[in-house]
């Protein structure tokens, strides 16, 4: 079955892509939505335009669509991008990296249902620590490119997800109820390397934006 992946460049959508590929599905294209609304509940925003570099590293075509990010319009834009993937790459299903968010998952399910496409959520309801451990086991190299909750601040930008990070998250989870995988929007990530990449990406430069406990990093990668 040919599949398109809703791809943000972060750990969840990349790991979902990897699982689909591992299970024998053909990944025909990636679909990225760049929202101008930095507060979007629907889409990951930091470093989103770098999905072009990631797609190239994976040698998978990318459909990249911009949206103003207004609540209902962003769903129309998402639907039109998925429709384009169906027409251009003949996809029969869509993969997402949804873990807990019914807000995101149910909206994507509705769009797929209307477009007569299968919808796959291979990380759905997965334990957050199990997810982080699985990423390490499968040699995913991931950095933080956004933090949006106390006590996370700009010092966390660029941090790698490794064993130390998982231990820190366990403590923050106990003390502040921070979701260890950032599923509550506490942080956003960027994948520099994983088994899907033919070439590892390296951060060459970056710019940070924000204040207090809300920061995002725009990276330049090669």
């Amino acid at each position: 079955m040919k599949l398109g992946v809703l791809f943000s460049g972060g750990k969840d959508s990349t790991f979902a892509t990897w699982i689909a590929k591992r299970e024998g599905y053909e990944i025909s294209c990636l679909i990225s939505i760049a929202s101008e609304n930095k507060e979007s509940y629907m889409f990951h925003t930091p470093s989103i335009d770098k999905t072009k570099k990631q797609a190239k590293a994976m040698n998978i075509p990318l459909i990249f669509k911009k949206t103003k990010g207004k609540k209902e319009d962003e769903l129309k834009d998402l639907k039109s991008a998925i429709k384009k993937a169906k027409e251009k790459y003949k996809i029969e299903g869509v993969v997402t990296g949804a873990v807990e968010s019914v807000y995101q998952a149910s909206r994507i399910q509705k769009i797929c249902n209307e477009l007569n496409l299968e919808c796959f959520n291979p990380l759905w309801q997965k334990n957050q620590f199990e997810l982080l451990e699985d990423l390490l086991k499968n040699k995913f190299e991931i950095i933080l490119v956004g933090v949006f909750a106390f006590p996370l601040d700009e010092k966390w930008l660029g941090k790698k997800i490794d064993k130390k990070f998982i231990e820190e998250m366990k403590k923050l989870n106990e003390k502040y109820k921070i979701n260890p995988a950032g599923e509550g929007g506490e942080f956003e990530t960027f994948v520099l390397n994983c088994p899907l990449f033919e070439k590892k990406l390296t951060v060459k430069n970056w710019k940070d934006f924000g204040e207090g406990n809300s920061w995002r990093r725009e990276v330049e990668v090669e």
Binding site: V102, E118, C119, K126, N127
Partner: protein, 198 residues
């Protein structure tokens, strides 16, 4: 030992509709084994003291072509929990007054299955306690079809669409919503509390 039954056509849907149920059982240290419905043997049914028939995706109706594979439900005589497609399957197996046969079911199905798409969180009112749920609860819906409550089942929720049902004489339970999302307690209750006949 609980038999978890995978009804998904697509291998990738295992992660979404079966693994979350396995994870709930693992967390509660409840012994289980998982089989795809096409691979269930007589020895599996003997080994199991309960069964959970999982749901599948909105577009997956492949199991309807193989209803004969579910004919064991009628004589299982042990607790069953059917989730979404699983609920519909156990109703079909129970309702048809003859053993269902593969590829001989289309006209019967058209009489039984009704169309209704509901996706996302909905509030449901459980008028009587149903596997730990009573009163108003938010539940996760993901279905394009439902089967009206038939004479052998009692409906536990208000409204036309049966969301929670129990067989009147057998320990067979069904939910149209997905309790693995937000209502995990319902699955734990079925696994730990429901006895052989109650």
């Amino acid at each position: 030992m609980i038999l978890i039954i995978n009804v998904c056509k697509e291998k990738l849907h295992y992660y979404e509709f079966v693994k979350p149920i396995e994870d709930i059982l693992k967390k509660n240290k409840i012994a289980f084994f998982t089989k795809h419905y096409t691979e269930i043997k007589e020895s599996d049914l003997k080994k199991a003291n309960k069964a959970i028939i999982c749901g599948t995706s909105l577009k997956d109706f492949d199991y309807n072509k193989h209803l004969g594979k579910f004919s064991w439900i009628k004589n299982f005589n042990k607790p069953i929990l059917g989730i979404c497609a699983g609920m519909q399957l156990m109703q079909i197996a129970d309702e048809l007054d003859r053993q269902v046969k593969e590829l001989d079911i289309k006209s019967d199905l058209n009489l039984i299955v009704k169309k209704k798409t509901e996706i996302g969180y909905y509030f449901e009112n459980f008028k009587k306690e149903f596997l730990s749920l009573k009163g108003k609860h938010e539940v996760y819906h993901l279905h394009n079809n439902y089967i009206p409550t038939s004479k052998n089942f009692e409906q536990f929720n208000d409204g036309k669409i049966p969301q929670a049902i129990k067989h009147k004489t057998k320990p067979i339970y069904g939910v149209l919503f997905h309790p693995e999302v937000r209502n995990k307690k319902l699955i734990e209750e079925f696994c730990e509390v429901v006895k052989f006949y109650n």
